[in-house]
Symmetry: C2
Subunit: 146 residues, 2 copies
DNA sequence: AAAGATTGAGTCTTCAATCTTT
DNA sequence: AAAGATTGAAGACTCAATCTTT
């Protein structure tokens, strides 16, 4: 059994790799979106979750869990999307404390436009470093961290 | 040759894993530091780079490259560390535009104190999910992204 | 009392402009 | 002109408090 009190050399190397990947490749992908005059990744994530949810929409608390965001953080993100007309906020019939979020046509269009740049960025900044088998290995290992 | 224009399914899965890992496991490690009343990870990183640099210290631009931070971002981080007495700012003899940063005794002590919590956090939140061989694989794959 | 959601105030980050030295 | 570094203002994030409904 691996010790749970002190990380092994391998564990520390992987941890540092994770932190650095964030600041290198994720930053470069964000930079490509910005260079194309597009909003940040968090907007894409929210729009995509809402588009996948379809006509039923999503409760803010459900979107919060899907995106791993704090409640107050999501509240402000949704507010920005709403002000830009990308997301609708409807009263929730089953629970009057909450609301239901739905993507608008404008939101769908922006999501799609972002994907054109985002997909190229993922491929060029990230995918290009791995074979499909390596990417699958990486995905499998990282998925354990959820 | 893998396409560089559209990411493969495996690439997208690995990319999503990377983004989610950031928001789950990195957030949990940060939360442990905060729960122990300690400063954020970025302080640790900066102190550790300066401690490794030894008596010669580091130029801000060198620390910037080591930490993959923007210039203005580093400037403000160093400012916070300096105000807390963790880092010294000395004039640079070879280049009067710049300065040389050096960790103080207080800074060394805090870095060490942080490591006690940080090490346990890395092991418990991250390392526990992998065998040493898996961690080595993960480290090797992620290191390509630098 | 707990869950869903929002908000004021403070902190941190980002952008663009600035200053000094090379 | 370019490199090293800082800063004012604006935007985003975090904490704690708040409000409503369950």
């Amino acid at each position: 059994m691996v010790s749970m009190n002190q990380p092994s050399t391998e564990t520390v190397a992987a941890w540092i790799g994770l932190l650095r990947a964030q600041r290198s490749v994720v930053a470069r992908v964000e930079a490509r979106l910005k260079a194309a005059g597009l909003p940040p990744l968090s907007w894409y994530d929210a729009l995509w979750e809402l588009e996948k949810a379809g006509d039923a929409g999503l409760r803010p608390c459900a979107l919060e869990r899907a995106m791993l965001l704090e409640q107050y953080n999501l509240s402000r993100l949704v507010d920005r999307l709403h002000r830009k007309g990308l997301v609708e906020k409807l009263p929730c019939p089953e629970d009057r404390r909450g609301s239901v979020l739905a993507i608008t046509e404008t939101g769908r269009a922006l999501r799609q436009q972002m994907w054109a740049t985002y997909a190229v960025a993922i491929a060029a900044e990230f995918g290009v470093h791995f074979t499909p088998a390596e990417a699958a290995t990486l995905a499998a290992l990282l998925s354990r961290l959820d």
